[in-house]
Subunit: 299 residues, 2 copies
């Protein structure tokens, strides 16, 4: 019943109008697994350099996040530096140093090959495909991507999409991938590429879910304090897949609940820098916000 | 139990990527009353010039929209010309000819002074105030405004806000009026200006409702076809106030329902040019879309 995630574990230096951080814990696999760990056991497949702070490994261990597949490589950890202005929807990159990620070859440890829930976070689609080949028969495969891969590796991405159940992407990416302005049309087109369902993330404006049989739209949880939006999308995926992995059936009902859990987890992440908020909150906080969300959206 | 609206009745010439129209029926009071007329009797207080096409008066009459307060003035009808690019959220104005609206002094006919539901659509806040003085004891007063009045007549607008129950404005206006970026903070600040409740309209991203005692957030109904967004906000208000005027009590439950009806009505308006769609649909179409909306947002 455990979850496997392949993605990045990184050190982020960033500035927003509400503060700044140097070498904070970041990366898609990090945010995903921190969020999913509230629901289930998660194992990370990624790589870090010899300079990766031990305290972050300890944090993963505290959260029972498996690091067996986290390769320790000679060299430096993946680093991203960027900033956000008052429009927190747009990240401005100062640099991306792939470092040990440049030659990363994901290897799924033998005892994790039977993982039932697999999340292929945003990395080179060829690497995402190589992970898929290493797992035996997952119950659910979800993946993310980004504008860079849509531009430079569309063929590999399209091949990958034939093998995933759930594709998560943001509104801009959906438009870029399909050439359609209208999100409903774009989502329908994405479905025709192979995935059984697609989740279009609209940041502070919520989420749209599409499958052949149903669709679901939800606003985002409204916050008074947004300090750092980094990792919101991966946190969303972690909350979603985390919850789904505990559901008896993957059906319209559990998918809707999982999307709300994803939004709730993401709402905590953006309230603080890095994974700060995810280390502070408890399942009770998550449930409380879930119930509040229900209350303010019901009609 | 009838509804009174003061606002503009106009002739719109516009172009969107999906077509164009010359001298189509437009104006805030028009969209509002066309939408509200599905629920209740509405009366318009506005002015048009001698050139106003008789067929539009006939259309109001067909919809049982009262035109007793629609002054026929020597001169030309208010005209707006504009266009939208693929970003249908932004209207580009080519010209605004106030014409007979320049010297408009709204007069509420004697037998409408006891109207129970009053909507002060977007016009000079001094005129909105003068209408308020002419009605006796309305059960609900709602108003709209725009960036222009916030800029040029903020004092009058602030005075007006002390006398309204419900203030509808869009997200940009909420930020402009309060100087707050965060919508939750902005909405709270707007409440401190006097209105009992505020509705922040986010266009295709839905609606946020705030009062001292409760809040409600909703996505917009998702559409595959958006041809002309003109009048969406006023249609929303018409659907909202229209439904509320039929509710036994104005409480959290009826307000939430009214907001969904507002969104549904607006979703029809933007599917076509001018008021086209509002003349085609029936209450059954509205109810069907309302039920569908419920289905795709429930969790």
């Amino acid at each position: 019943m455990s979850i496997l995630v392949v993605g990045s574990v990184a050190l982020d230096s960033l500035k927003t109008p509400f503060g700044k951080r140097e070498e904070a814990l970041g990366g898609s696999a990090t945010f995903f697994s921190m969020a999913a760990s509230f629901f289930n056991k998660v194992n990370i497949v990624a790589t870090v350099g010899k300079d990766f702070p031990k305290r972050y490994i300890n944090l993963f261990e505290e959260k029972s996040i498996g690091t067996e597949g986290l390769q320790l490589t000679n060299g430096k950890t993946f680093r991203w530096k960027g900033w956000y202005g008052y429009d927190l929807n747009t990240a401005h990159t100062i640099y991306t140093h792939l470092n040990v990620f440049k030659d990363f070859r994901p290897e799924v440890p033998a005892d994790l090959k039977d993982s039932e829930y697999v999340f292929l976070a945003n990395i080179d689609p060829d690497l995402q495909l190589s992970v898929l080949k290493q797992v035996s028969r997952p119950k659910l495969v979800a993946c993310d991507s980004m504008n860079y891969w849509i531009e430079t590796k569309k063929k590999s991405l399209m091949k990958l999409l034939k093998h995933v159940d759930l594709f998560l992407l943001n509104d801009g990416e959906a438009r870029q991938l399909t050439g359609e302005t209208n999100l409903l049309t774009a989502a329908r087109k994405v479905l025709s590429y192979g995935p059984k369902a697609v989740v279009v993330k609209k940041g502070e404006h919520g989420v749209i879910y599409f499958s052949r049989s149903s669709h679901f739209i939800s606003p985002a949880y409204l916050l008074e304090t947004v300090r750092d939006p980094t990792g919101a999308g991966d946190t969303f995926a972690g909350g979603m897949i985390g919850y789904l992995s505990t559901a008896k059936n993957i059906d319209s009902r559990s998918i809707r609940k999982s999307i709300i859990y994803g939004s709730i987890l993401a709402s905590f992440t953006v309230e603080g820098f890095s994974v700060d908020r995810l280390t502070e909150i408890s399942m009770a906080d998550i449930r409380r916000r879930y119930e509040h969300f229900k209350k303010i959206t019901r009609f």
